[in-house]
Each structure stands twice: as structure tokens, then as C-alpha cells.
């Protein structure tokens, strides 16, 4: 996996994590305005990054695998993942 791709995936994981942290907080504090604003921002960042990643490197989830051909099988497979940290 090249550096740009790994980097982009990392950013995506970070956005995903931030979003889910807000989700957990909002479960317990559903009217907190700051948390709601944070969630909106994080969710948008996640969606934008995911779209950008998928445009360049193919689908991350099966819902977006369809295309001119079945893009899901275009590597790398999980066991080919060389990204480390």
C-alpha cells in the first residue's frame, strides 16, 4: 500500500473515531449543543474523506462496490495490508 493511500486511510480512521466518540457522548447527553455541532462536523469530515478515498482507491464498504465491474475484488485483501502502526 503506497504512502498516500495509507495516509488517507489513517485520516479516515481518525475522522471515524472522532465521529464515534461524539456518538457515544450524545447517547448520554442527547441535547448537548457542542457535542451535536462536533458530531455534524466530524460526520461530514468522515463522509468527505470516505468519498475521496473511494474515488481514488475503490470501495471501503460493500455498499459502494458496484461499478462498471465488481470493484470489491480489486486489492489489497486484508492479508495484503502492509500498513503498519
Amino acid at each position: 500500500m503506497n504512502n498516500d493511500r495509507a495516509q488517507m486511510l489513517r485520516r479516515l480512521q481518525e475522522a471515524d473515531f472522532a465521529m464515534y466518540e461524539a456518538v457515544l457522548y450524545l447517547d448520554g447527553h442527547p441535547t448537548n449543543k457542542m457535542a451535536l455541532a462536533f458530531y455534524d462536523k466530524a460526520a461530514k469530515a468522515y463522509c468527505d474523506l470516505k468519498e475521496k478515498y473511494e474515488m481514488t482507491y475503490g470501495p471501503l464498504t460493500i455498499q459502494n462496490a458496484s461499478g462498471p465491474s465488481w470493484t470489491w475484488i480489486q486489492g489489497p485483501w486484508p492479508w495484503q495490508n502492509e500498513m503498519e502502526e
Binding site: 481518525e14 475522522a15 472522532a18 457542542m34
Partner: protein, 72 residues
């Protein structure tokens, strides 16, 4: 008789210093029950640090220190 909760006995760590006391706990609480202080939504890490530390909340970044409860 009204029970006046004493915030003195609560181990309020430094992260809570800027929080007004009335937001930490309800004013009236029952005896013999366990309580969790109200968690404010502030003091957040940036996304990169959040993923590394496992939380977006600086106040919840509490690595296990072998029972010593010290921050590194």
C-alpha cells in the same frame, strides 16, 4: 433533613478545575448510590491525537499506571 453533598470528597482531578461545581453532580443525591460526575464536552484532542490516545477527551486520557493513578 436535606443532604448537602460535599464536593470535597469527590476526587475531582485537575481537568475539572474550570467546571462549575454545580454541573459535576446533581444538587440532591441519595446516599448509598454510586454517581458518575457529569462529563462536559470540552477539552478535546485533535483527531490525530484522539485516535492515538483512544479518546477525544483530554480528561478521559487516563493510562493505567499500575494502580498509582499518575499521569505521565
Amino acid at each position: 433533613m436535606e443532604y448537602e453533598p460535599s464536593l470535597e470528597v469527590v476526587p475531582v482531578v485537575e481537568m475539572m478545575e474550570n467546571i462549575k461545581e454545580e454541573f459535576l453532580f446533581p444538587q440532591r443525591i441519595s446516599l448509598a448510590m454510586a454517581y458518575v460526575p457529569y462529563q462536559p464536552f470540552n477539552n478535546l484532542y485533535d483527531p490525530e491525537t484522539s485516535l492515538k490516545r483512544g479518546t477525544i477527551f483530554k480528561a478521559l486520557d487516563m493510562p493505567f499506571m499500575g494502580g498509582k493513578g499518575l499521569r505521565k
